[in-house]
């Protein structure tokens, strides 16, 4: 006697759990499958969780969820070999309700979130891999798991199986990702005394800081480094397009060591002790890589649908919102007892109308542009550093002379035109 549910959600990350939570809350009989020992066991994130999209699901979650620190400062370092031009915004309004975002450790957070879905009535089953969708007469009717007699049936299946998105690929919703559609991120959690963290990052208790690092963090190839403050640990990592690692033949863990030992970064982490090393892919294909997200009896959410805004390092928020929108659609479909593609396609429309579709559209050409034209990271960031150094070094030459030197450093007239054109193009893909 095969088991039958209203809905099966594959993957208990932020997208899948958000979907299962909303469905269970509405009284839908939902099974949440997770391949790890517990939710979060397979999940990696730099660590920024956005308040708004989480609160759309659980109001005032921050009063009980396992969070690290609310972020009050976001820094952006344009880094060269031994210098950096840094932009920052610090605002204490982010340190109190309603907050903007928080650092989290995913193994803790994901477990908590999944427990909340269980409280609503979802059935969570861990240590179970969904190996394929069961398709009958052109519709998905369930999943085959790696358990004995492991076929499970449902009216609708939600694929929240993460960046590798094997199930949607099997259904022909997308081809295999290209190496320039995914970024490989490696990261370490570094243990460091709470007071030392607060001193080094100029924080008070229960305040956090994030630093995004561009330029020499990735030796000029497209990608970013990051350094985030947790309660008594730091998360430090570096991510680059897989295609960049292949092209430049760089070992990702050596790049991570390079960042950790960079003279601009080292003082922040000095004396800390590594306690965990993690690697994961991030879907960074953007708008053009979004696969088919709705079919007969099936929806795709979160990383599995490439829903990441790499420019603003947003992903977990898009995951949660996509899960919530999928749940809304399923509830509507259930009322009409219609799980056909034409019905479920309303999810795609909701997705595209939301900030997810809008933001991904806004930056649809950004990643590809910066990958195609490496001069932004390779040349312009060092140039920016030289200009700052020139302007702020007091050496007896006049400011007019200094401006002329900076102007000359931009190169020949032809190179200056190229620079101007590149800035225009960058503006175009970002605007």
């Amino acid at each position: 006697m095969p088991e039958k549910f209203d809905c099966i959600v594959v993957g208990a990350g932020p997208a899948g759990t958000a979907c299962a939570y909303e469905l269970a809350k509405a009284g839908v009989n939902v099974l949440l499958l997770e391949r790890g020992e517990y939710p979060g066991a397979k999940n990696v994130m730099g660590g920024v969780l956005y308040r708004k999209m989480m609160e759309d699901i659980i109001p005032e979650f921050y009063k009980e969820a396992p969070l690290e620190r609310p972020i009050v400062e976001q820094r952006f370092m344009m880094m060269d070999k031994e210098s950096a031009v840094t932009f920052s915004y610090k605002g204490l309004e982010w340190g109190r309700e309603p907050y903007n975002n928080f650092t989290v450790l995913r193994a803790k957070f994901d477990q908590w979130f999944a427990e909340k879905a269980v409280e609503q009535g979802a059935l969570l089953v861990c240590e179970t891999v969904a190996v394929e969708c069961i398709v009958k007469n052109g519709r998905v009717v369930g999943v085959r798991t790696d358990r004995p007699d492991g076929d499970i049936y449902a009216d609708v299946v939600v694929l929240a199986d993460g960046v590798n998105s094997l199930l949607a690929k099997q259904l022909g919703f997308h081809r295999e990702w290209r190496p320039d559609e995914v970024a490989l991120a490696t990261m370490e959690i570094l243990k460091l005394d709470k007071n030392v963290i607060e001193d080094r990052f100029n924080l008070e208790a229960n305040q956090g800081c994030t630093i995004e690092i561009f330029g020499d963090a990735t030796k000029g190839i497209l990608g970013t480094g990051f350094l985030y403050t947790n309660k008594d640990t730091l998360s430090i990592g570096v991510g680059t397009l897989l295609s960049g690692l292949i092209k430049h033949k760089i070992k990702p863990y050596e790049l991570l060591e390079y960042v950790k030992n960079h003279p601009m970064i080292r003082p922040y982490i000095q004396g800390s002790e590594p306690v965990e090393y993690l690697a994961h892919l991030i879907p960074e294909g953007g708008y053009h890589s979004i696969p088919k997200v709705a079919g007969n009896g099936v929806l795709v959410v979160g990383d599995a649908a490439q829903l990441v805004n790499a420019i603003h390092r947003e992903g977990s928020n898009m995951a949660m919102t996509s899960g919530r929108l999928a749940a809304e659609t399923i509830i509507m479909a259930k009322e009409q007892n219609d799980f056909s593609e034409s019905m479920l396609d309303q999810y795609r429309m909701k997705l595209m109308e939301s900030f997810i579709g809008q933001d991904l559209k806004k930056y649809k050409d950004a990643t590809h542009h910066f990958e195609r034209f490496p001069q932004y990271f390779e040349q312009y960031i060092p140039m920016m550093n030289r200009a700052a150094s020139q302007m702020f070094t007091v050496d007896g030459s006049s400011k007019w002379e200094k401006q002329q030197k900076i102007w000359r450093d931009l190169g020949s007239t032809k190179q200056k035109f190229k620079l101007a054109r590149d800035m225009m193009k960058a503006w175009k893909v970002m605007k």
Partner: protein
Amino acid sequence: MMKTQTIEEKQYLVRFNADTKSHLHVLDDNICLTKCPDKICTIFCPAAVYKWEEVRMHVGYEGCHECGSCRIGCPHENIRWEYPRGGYGIVFRLG
């Protein structure tokens, strides 16, 4: 000056619950040998799972982070990649 940490030292920080059989399969060592001078998977794999041993690719699946890079990045689509059985494989405790 901080001491540079090796990949072996990094991997030592991670908890693995390794299955008895591999979830990663190099389909044809001969393709690695004859068509892939860079053996690029031995470079970009974040856990150094792949090691070239003269004529064959050694796959240390026990230390795999299950990221999927090898499946996507192998220039000859020569790696069959599955998830480890439920409950097996890497177990992140924090991040």
